[in-house]
Symmetry: C3
Subunit: 327 residues, 3 copies
């Protein structure tokens, strides 16, 4: 999939589909913009008029209240009108093709599609076919990528740790079924993290990751955690597992569950991240999830600011200013 | 359940969970505020900017389009952003705990949860765990309470009858399964109603009510209605009945259905109330429901104003003024 | 069904239920107003404050994401608050009657119902019972009518062809199950189209159309298309067919599918319309649907502007001005 699709002819960000091919400067710019929106979401009136009169369509081909909610809030806080379209219950049941559905909604003069789809590449496909004035945001496609989640994680790391070049980061768990792991690895490498580790049982680690540059692979959790500054836990995607990848949840927790004892192997000021929803007692112990090293809820808060930043950037072009003007 | 949970340290109303422990002055203040919003909902532009930039989350664990709609309209007329989260189709299906769901949504910097839940105490539980700046409104929990419904009924009575101290009020029907009956009795006693009667078959009357202060119990409908100024009919919660509480709908109507003949036992200017949706021909005859004594639809209208009043009070603190400023 | 229901005592349009009885001037006025809104939907800030503070309720008794979306967008671009009520999952499941549901929602001081219902006459029934300040828009009732669809089609024809008096128009396909065909015929006759043709197999043509004035009936597609300026394809309502009206989809396409070869029988500058969603390869060939004569997607765009126009007219009275004031 061509990543040049993401830029217009003037070289400005138009779609946000994958972190592949995005330069370091752009990732930094997204985080800088998100930083300015952080104050917006914490003030009394949490709205800025940047996208007033724009129409954002949440086009969800698979149900995800959590993700849909963060995009809906981000759009509303930018003063956009939001339209939620759940395709499972919609026109496709009348036999309409995906492309006809897209063509129809874009004819209503909408400005942005936020796309969630079970198939890898769906957001790219839509981006390749929309009219020039419409932007597409990938809100998760199959196992392929989930770039806004990766960016909010990068933003969370930067807010706690500052400079990436000093950091050792471990990504732990069900890499095979994770849409976010690939995006994380790309972002961390682009931002110049000192070391990116992937820690997973062999059955949950795809060959594509094992062989990729810029990643060190561990199958032993304790070794993988030694001295790291950041731990990114992945969700055990139980509902996606089709075969017998794992012996049992209990055994998984024994080998790869993040406990306080294991956390002690990491750097003393390590932060613990998780995209949620967490499976307490499966991939993470409650004492760690709710403990002093956890920044899991700050990831959620940061997710609104990062999505506001990306929405603003793609709809207004990357050389616009983003004054913190309040309605 | 502690009712002190409802106030902050400065003694101002923060949550609205139950009428237990709320002083008469506060109930009067809610009604006075609702009175000012009544004019807002009747004018051409039905919006005031009081909650602009605030985010209200309708967190519904059981489906109730009717109740959700009144809160959604009340919030929108206060210029708040509204997020509808139907939990039945949401993250809990991925095995997330209630508390994790709450923590996640509050991390998105929302301001208010409107909670509907089949379990008694759910709204209290959530209120006990949210961050200090967040307010919780109970939109009905199990058989426990439905305080906004009770307040809109009090407001409706006051608009028609004025002074509570002269009033005899009969609450009639399925008290056992009603979330609103308890809240009504509390409110009427706090507001100093002259007499509160409960009229119900023995099988639909819980011991807790029979033994409570400030209520006279009747098992004969005609005796219970004699001379009352206000009749509050309860809905026959057929869908909640698990056993054989009642012989048949027909027989129920014979004994406890409100007909014109029975209405004649009450005071000549009696008003008839019902929380809706009504079962015509089961608990109430259509000629009464649609007749001159019925104020059932005015209850619905008043429900918007009362919910606007409560939302404003909890989010802005009880010593703020509420000017009728129009956008 | 009386069409006088649509006007108030001062003769101004109050409801929009059917095109029956609407004078030519009013149809022209709707199109002129829509023309002014076309520029609104194409500018950067796509909102006008005409319906600020008004509450529009989408009351959908049958699922139609596509139609609901166009009304929701139209209302939001007029700055109205929108409430989506899906009745299939709502109070009627608690045994409430349609009229009680309507009475309840109107008591919330709403301003407009947009009604979609599987039964013919449902929107009329509701319009006959709402309070004087409330308007009802028919968003499709049974096989009876779909007047906003017909008006957006007229508007689309006018934008491409100008004067109706020179035009030959063919309506092609499943007339029997179409809610839009009747409305189209009425509108075309009112607007003075030179010739209105209906082209359909005998099994898909109701006697009411065959015998009606102002229509020429063709059972042969090629004859029906000869020299026409406008082709309005109807959707093959497969999901509504109960019996064996058709031999097979393939055979239907052979006889009534619009192909490039057939299109050559029409006037050289013919336009091809379809209400969507299209069944490619059943009633229309993809080369025609996506070809230079197709205006199918412009119909969708025009649908927003036409619905904005009708909403404005019924809520503000037909002698108001509609300045293109931008928020």
């Amino acid at each position: 999939m061509s990543d040049s699709l993401q830029f217009d002819r003037a070289g400005r960000l138009r779609h946000f589909l994958t972190l592949e091919g995005l330069p370091r400067d752009l990732l930094v710019r997204i985080m800088d913009t998100a930083e300015s929106f952080t104050s917006v979401t914490e003030q009394q009136v949490k709205k800025v008029p940047l996208l007033r009169g724009k129409t954002v369509v949440n086009l969800f081909f698979e149900n995800s209240t959590r993700t849909r909610t963060t995009f809906e809030l981000a759009a509303k806080r930018l003063s956009a009108d939001v339209l939620n379209v759940n395709i499972a219950t919609s026109a496709t049941s009348k036999g309409e093709s995906l492309l006809d559905t897209i063509r129809n909604i874009e004819a209503m003069h909408v400005d942005m599609f936020v796309v969630r789809h079970a198939e890898s590449g769906a957001a790219h496909f839509i981006a390749a076919h929309v009219q020039p004035h419409i932007s597409v945001l990938n809100a998760g496609d199959g196992r392929h990528s989930h770039p806004t989640q990766a960016m909010l994680d990068m933003f969370t790391i930067r807010r706690h740790k500052g400079d990436f070049s000093r950091l050792k980061v471990a990504i732990v768990g069900d890499v095979l079924h994770s849409r976010v792991a690939r995006s994380e690895i790309l972002a961390l490498n682009t931002l110049g993290a000192r070391e990116v580790r992937v820690v997973a049982p062999r059955t949950l680690l795809p060959a594509s990751v094992t062989g990729s540059l810029g990643v060190r692979v561990y199958h032993d959790f304790d070794q993988g955690l030694a001295g790291v500054d950041v731990i990114i836990m992945l969700r055990l995607q139980r509902e996606r597992m089709t075969g017998a990848f794992l012996p049992s949840e209990h055994e998984y927790f024994e080998r790869f569950g993040l406990t306080e004892a294991r956390l002690a192997k990491a750097a003393p000021d390590v932060i613990v991240m998780h995209p949620g929803p967490i499976n307490r007692g499966v991939e993470i112990d409650s004492r760690v999830a709710d403990g002093p090293h956890s920044v899991i809820l700050q990831q959620v808060s940061n997710g609104i600011a990062v999505r506001m930043a990306i929405m603003s950037l793609v709809l207004r072009g990357s050389d616009d200013a983003f004054p913190g003007v309040v309605l």
